[in-house]
Amino acid sequence: MAFIEGDTQKVLKERFDQEMDKRVKILFFSDELNCQYCPQIKSLLEEVKGYTDKLDVEEHNFFTQKALVEQYKLDGSPALVFLDSEGKDTGIRIYGIPAGHEFASFIEAICLVSSGKTKTLPDKVREEIEKIDSPLEIKVFVTTTCPYCAGAVITAHEMAFVNPHITGKMIESMEFPEWAGKHNVYTVPKIIVNDKIEFEGAVPVKEYAKKVIEAHHAGEKKLIILP
């Protein structure tokens, strides 16, 4: 069965034609033994590839390709890693199937990497995010039926794209129940920054950025002045 049907086919073709500029490469790390959705992810990637000649997809085995897994610091599979036209890691990660409402964040990620244009970050926010100068990880736990989650994922991906220190991860909660359990995820979107600051729900992008910046500073030693 095709994932992309009806009007979506036309919309997708138009969007790729209008928005894609440079080539994008997606590395798909699969696990043939324990991965329920890997066959669907593979078909989805193949289908999406059919709508543009600027997308490359490379499949790797999560368990045997240890060097690559280490290079991209992957901690689970299925995982998608987005590389730009020069092969540089953009920090954009998708863990699990980007189906349902997450199809939107997946397509946005392709357009973002190809066009280099962010859509949700206002200039002031972008400037602040660009100043982050040490590794920072944004996990966004989602379900594919959640209407508010894609927005939170797109923001994390854009932050990763504008700053090489940042990794933005979409995590499909049902496929990673251990991670969801570890982080007490019962409601989505749940956003966790550097495992220090967490927040839930649809929050304005500026509020989101404040929390990210706060998490970045949380590790710094502060001078405490006693009264």
């Binding site: 039926t145 209407p147 409601t187 979107p189 649809a202 929050v203 304005p204 509020e207």
Partner: protein, 304 residues
């Protein structure tokens, strides 16, 4: 300070509909939304009563189309929270978390938010078993027993969605009758894994580490019992998002904005529309209508 003819607060159906009209009337229009475009309806599973769409549509799709339409008429979107509105000689100054704007006229379409129950145990389990968004969190309750408090249209609609995942749904209704429309009820009644408990109040959310159920009290007999369940979905009504508007426009005793038939508030060139207004039905079609009325009224004022 950035200047606009019209500033609309709220990006749900009422706000975006108003924006389409003011934008198309060539008035420079800014829409300020605090979270995500779409409003409360975006969290719903499907809409099947919005005219012009014979098949059920996804609210997110409908709202994305409305947004696209507004952008075609050059409406600007800003994601920020409005904290204060001050009247000045030639309009109003709006202060947000990050910015300051001036508008000649304003449309308030801030909508409403789901109400909490206020019972013991609720705060402990909010976001840990108690949720307001079935489409977001439904998958976490796969093969589990869940309780939906409230059986109005939104409660039953989301119950239908949850039945895709859960083992059973118990509707807890505080009235002796069910409020939801017959069309919706028909779809859930008679299902083996659906039951309705009428005339009962939720009095406590029980559980230690995890949520274990809802303690209820029958309103007639006073009898108390515990309905077992691992998730509670609250659809017990809404409260208007008007905290920052107290003292700025007249509100009723529940906090809803009082308007006339033109959707005018107590302030000149300030209109209101959608679920935030008094005496309305929380329906997309109604919000679209009141948004358009507010816009037409404001356009008339500004063209004088």
């Amino acid at each position: 300070m950035k200047e606009y003819d019209v500033i609309i607060i709220g990006g749900g159906p009422a706000g975006i509909s108003a924006a389409i009209y003011t934008g198309r009337a060539m008035l420079s229009t800014l829409l300020i939304e605090k979270a995500a475009v779409g409003g409360l309806i975006a969290s719903s599973d499907i809409i099947e009563n919005y005219p012009g769409f014979p098949e059920p549509i996804q609210p997110t799709e409908l709202m994305a189309n409305m947004e696209k339409q507004a952008k075609r008429f050059n409406v600007q979107f800003e994601f920020d929270t409005v904290n204060t509105i001050e009247p000045v000689e030639d309009g109003y100054v709006l202060k947000t978390d990050w910015d300051e704007f001036h508008a000649r006229g304003i449309i308030l379409a801030t909508g409403s938010s789901p109400k909490k129950s206020g019972v013991p145990g609720e705060e402990k389990f909010l976001g840990r078993g108690i949720t307001f968004c079935a489409t977001c969190d439904g998958p976490f309750y796969k093969d589990k027993d869940v309780i939906i408090v409230g059986a109005g249209d939104s409660g039953v609609q989301e119950g239908l969605f949850l039945l895709n995942f859960v083992k059973s749904v118990t509707f807890l209704v505080y009235k002796p009758v069910i409020k939801a429309s017959k069309a919706l009820l028909q779809k859930v009644q008679g299902k083996e894994n659906v039951r309705f408990i009428l005339n009962s109040d939720l009095i406590e959310v029980v559980g230690n580490e995890r949520l274990e159920g809802a303690k209820i009290r029958n309103k007639e007999t006073g009898e108390e019992s515990v309905v077992p369940g691992q998730g509670i979905f609250l659809y017990i009504g809404f409260k208007p998002n008007t905290g920052f508007l107290k003292g700025f426009v007249d509100l009723d005793e529940k906090g809803y904005i009082i308007t006339d038939k033109r959707m005018a508030t107590s302030r000149p060139k300030v209109y209101a529309a959608g679920d935030v207004t008094k005496n309305t039905y929380a329906q997309v079609a109604v919000s679209v209508g009141s948004g358009v009325t507010a816009a037409m009224s404001l356009i008339h004022d500004l063209e004088k």
